[in-house]
């Protein structure tokens, strides 16, 4: 999976190692992972949506991070989504990765944040899930994202900043699905695409609604 998600990576390492063995003995025992994205809190209501009246060109600097450090593979995977959402927002006349006329720059840092205590629990739960081959135990892990948008309208201007929080929930093994909020996705990539879309909609609207954003 492209996301270097420490929770599920460790849970997966043990759970999948054991599942690989049991697949030979009891193929029906292993439950597929499921992914959930709950965008309720982030949704931009129609009455709060803002679109700049005079869109200007934009230079984008984008990076996906893990705990503040670069994650180039995830950057490469998610960048097309970011560019697509920027262009679809209607807030910019053009989007490029090199300097543009007017000098406006938007930096987006998509940071996957690891909670050490949650990681320990995920490792323990994942081990138990693996030992029971997913039949008698399940694991639910959450990947937390802190996404920072920083927009500089022109050289020397004060940046406009907004931060959006979101999460991706993954269930492995026997878990009561009704207890997990959000829309379910069988493929992680689809869940990530939707998560990015929701973050971008909220983050960009926050910027456009800021009194300092050029009208």
């Amino acid at each position: 999976m492209f996301l270097n998600r420490r929770f599920s990576a460790s849970a997966w390492t043990w759970a999948m190692a054991l599942c690989a063995a049991v697949l030979l003995a009891a193929p029906q025992a292993v439950k597929a992972a499921k992914f959930y994205v709950d965008g309720t809190a982030l949704a931009v209501k129609p009455e709060e949506k803002v679109v700049p009246a005079a869109p200007k060109p934009l230079q984008i600097l984008y990076e996906f991070q893990r705990d503040g450090g670069p994650n180039p593979k995830a950057t490469k995977f998610t960048k097309p989504f970011i560019l697509e959402d920027l262009k679809a927002s209607g807030g910019f006349s053009s989007v490029a990765e090199t300097p543009v006329e007017g000098g406006a720059v938007l930096s987006i840092k998509f940071n996957n944040v690891v909670d050490p205590e949650a990681l320990k629990k995920a490792k323990a739960d994942g081990f138990k899930t693996g030992l029971s081959f997913g039949l008698f135990g399940g694991t639910v892990v959450e990947d937390l994202y802190v996404v920072t948008f920083e927009y500089v309208p022109a050289p020397g201007a004060t940046p406009i900043k907004t931060v959006v929080h979101h999460k991706l929930t993954t269930s492995i093994g026997k878990v009561d699905q009704t207890t997990i909020p959000g829309v379910q996705y069988k493929k992680a990539d689809l869940a990530v695409r939707e998560l990015v879309r929701q973050v971008m909609a909220r983050g960009l609207n926050n910027l456009f609604a800021d009194p300092a954003f050029p009208r």
């Binding site: 270097n4 420490r6 990576a9 460790s10 390492t13 043990w14 999948m16 190692a17 054991l18 690989a20 063995a21 049991v22 030979l24 003995a25 230079q59 600097l61 984008y62 990076e63 893990r66 450090g69 670069p70 994650n71 180039p72 593979k73 950057t75 490469k76 990765e97 090199t98 300097p99 720059v105 930096s107 920083e150 500089v152 050289p155 020397g156 940046p159």
Partner: protein
């Protein structure tokens, strides 16, 4: 060997295999707003990039962690990757001009990463030389380092080590391009 024993042998083998040897290329690090803002503020002239070479005795093409290898693109070197990282930042700030009389070149002098299942460290060093009209006008060594909490599980420790090493390139570039001495040399007549 009984069925149970075979099962556990397969389990352990699978776990080890998940942390098995891999060889992967180093990834380009995107330009950062911090460096772009600093370059805008410094108002340096545009510059070109000369050659980036590897100091004698330094491995130009591999970083090894638990039998897995991080390497630059085929046919390239970590020194060349450093040059490309400079290009990424300068291009994003509109300061890269291959025809400019001012040019930056470098020699990679340190490139290392290691970990011991509990802690990892990495360091990157280079001597950078600024030339104007082909004549060297400034030269200075730069070094950056980092450390992190590593892990017993190889599948976590190896990518962590590679990612931390990878991140040093952008840090070294920022350190050099925001150095007041470097900026003064770039602006010098």
């Amino acid at each position: 060997m009984g069925t149970a024993a075979k099962g556990w042998a397969l389990v352990l083998g699978s776990a080890l295999a998940l942390a098995g040897c891999v060889s992967m290329p180093i990834d380009e690090v995107p330009a950062s707003l911090e460096t772009l803002q600093a370059l805008r503020q410094a108002q340096i002239p545009a510059l070109g990039l000369g050659s980036f070479t590897t100091a004698k005795g330094l491995d130009p093409r591999s970083i090894n962690i638990r039998g897995s290898t991080l390497h630059p693109a085929k046919g390239s070197s970590f020194a060349a990757f450093l040059g490309e990282t400079f290009a990424t930042e300068l291009r994003a700030a509109g300061k890269l001009d291959p025809s400019a009389p001012l040019a930056l070149s470098g020699e990679l002098t340190e490139s290392q990463a290691k970990e011991n299942m509990a802690r990892g460290t990495a360091a990157l060093g280079a001597t950078l030389t600024l030339s104007r009209g082909g004549k060297a006008v400034f030269s200075k060594p730069y070094r950056v380092e980092t450390s992190w909490k590593s892990d017993f599980i190889g599948a976590l420790a190896i990518p962590d080590a590679f990612r931390n090493y990878n991140g040093l390139y952008a840090l070294l570039v920022r350190k050099a391009l925001t150095d007041p001495e470097m900026i003064a040399a770039m602006k010098g007549g």
